[in-house]
Symmetry: D2
Subunit: 99 residues, 4 copies
């Protein structure tokens, strides 16, 4: 089962600047060979459910190791079995409808 | 690694009434032996990361089997390694601070 | 337009314990006369769109005043125009389908 | 108070294809003069709180008018009073930390 994810991980107890942790997660996703795209309020990821979710877990573990005692993450998860759809397809599908 | 989750699964392409699908997910969580609590905009779950996430995946698979061609889910995920905390602890912690 | 909201406000830069801020938001919702229900990963609110949103804004402003330099909030917002539905209706609708 | 928002509006009861509704929201944001950026699982918006929230409300109203009887939306909302930060700043801040 393929999934498109929007991941927004927020380390708590480490001050206001969290870009270091987001960058560390980005490296994890890259090493996992997952297609991902950073945006201004999270990171989109596409791939096989188990691989994506293993990477998300690894992000939590690694951010704890980097010193964050607490993490709150918001994830959006999209699956469909009527047809295949990539992150690029989703964006293109909207853009075609814009004037 | 323990996790507290807020799960809000939304089947698409099956009309406006989705309580049947939410109830089916509730059964999956119960059969998985996970502590869960339904609220008006989702279900809170607490347990070991892998067990909770396996149940979430099973919810997606089962809701597709029940006929939903597309699913979009919003999850909040909380982990901490400074101390143990249950769903009940979180609520109590706020209530103690209310007048 | 009526709305049912799930509000999860996360103050950043104030350490790991945030229940004080959640309790302060709870007071704001109560003073606004909004029906609300605390759960383990947020607070459900029901009411007229403008009133609910004014209260959410007030929560952000007040939590900043209490000392949080940064806030990240996750909100779920449900509206419908086919029929009226309360938070209690949503829960009951699922519970009727449980064995 | 400035806010950076991630908006993901999901019309229910209109089938699986929702890009038409997302495109309509995009037009509303553009007409409101708000800076926005479409991504694969939502749209990022930046601006003054009241203007952004008025546009979000208008999106709900317009998507109902277009025929969706029910809408569930997930929003992330970021505010800070320690310094100004744009969507572009947030992305740049992470990218500087990537190898």
């Amino acid at each position: 089962m393929n999934v498109i994810v929007d991941l927004c991980l927020v380390p708590m107890g480490v001050g206001v600047s969290v870009s270091k942790y987001v960058a560390a997660c980005h490296e994890i996703l890259k090493e996992a060979g997952l297609k991902s795209q950073l945006h201004a309020y999270g990171t989109n990821i596409e791939g096989e459910w188990d691989e994506v979710m293993a990477a998300v877990k690894q992000c939590h573990e690694h951010v704890h190791e980097l010193g964050a005692p607490r993490i709150t993450t918001t994830i959006k998860l999209g699956t469909r079995n009527d047809r295949e759809q990539t992150m690029a397809d989703k964006i293109e599908s909207v853009q075609q409808k814009l004037v």
